[in-house]
């Protein structure tokens, strides 16, 4: 179990991006700065995209800097989505950066990070 070691941003994203074009921005991340409890942290991600046949988001990765498993979720989207927006609830093992990484239909990537403080780690034995 590797929670506790903080990955660098390249360590988080390179395995997915694999050298293709990567630019920061065009993504909104709506997440509390201070999480009530690491076991449930709400997150909304919006990628600016026309979601047309020619120009849309194909995949949206949610990456954790500190969790034992970096890839928290992968969303598959397309022009049928209408909007490149998803919301979910994360589990976070301590204070860290969360990265939203979007793959576009032209093969390029956009990314955005958000910092969150988690005072109670999710990955402890709670009875």
């Amino acid at each position: 179990m590797f929670s506790g070691t903080l990955l660098s941003l390249p360590e988080m994203m390179d395995p997915i991006v694999q050298g293709r074009s990567l630019r920061e921005g065009a993504i909104t991340m709506d997440m509390p700065v201070l999480a009530d409890n690491g076991l449930l942290v709400p997150l909304r991600v919006i990628v600016e995209s026309p979601m047309s046949e020619q120009d849309h988001v194909t995949h949206l990765y949610l990456l954790s800097q500190r969790n034992p498993v970096t890839r928290m979720a992968v969303f598959h989207l397309g022009p049928w989505s209408g909007r490149a927006e998803v919301s979910t609830r994360l589990r976070l093992a301590g204070s860290q950066k969360v990265v939203a990484l979007a793959r576009l239909s032209d093969g390029s990537f956009r990314w955005r990070q958000a910092d969150v403080i988690v005072t109670e780690s999710a990955c402890v034995d709670g009875s």
């Binding site: 949610l62 598959h76 209408g82 927006e85 979910t88």
Partner: protein
């Protein structure tokens, strides 16, 4: 039987972008915790979830242990015709779940453009 709920607007217009909210009962066990007797609870999470509508996949997510227990997803898709949404998922043990719900779509207006 695990519980699940899907929220869709009561009625939408053809071509409208619809918001769906989905809540599924599943512990999303990480494998890092113990039960009340001190025995480790093995890892088991929903690994794949899809939503089909109008004969095609309109949403898919591959969650992991980093998604909170009783996973919640909110997603969007374009409304076509009145039809059934079928959400199905499978966890790492192979257990499957399914939820079906009707989406009511107003047919496109037949009035000719002005």
């Amino acid at each position: 039987m695990s519980q699940a709920r899907l929220q869709l607007p009561p009625q939408v217009a053809h071509g409208q972008v619809v918001r769906a909210r989905l809540l599924i009962e599943h512990p999303m066990d990480t494998g890092y915790l113990q039960d009340l007797a001190g025995k480790p609870v093995p890892r088991n999470v929903i690994a794949d979830l899809t939503c089909e509508y109008g004969g095609r996949q309109v949403f898919r997510v591959e969650p992991s242990s980093g998604i909170s227990g009783n996973p919640f997803f909110e997603f969007f898709f374009r409304a076509g015709e009145t039809g059934e949404l079928r959400v199905s998922w499978v966890d790492e043990r192979g257990a499957k779940g399914e939820l079906r719900q009707l989406l009511r779509v107003q047919p496109p207006s037949s009035r000719p453009p002005a």
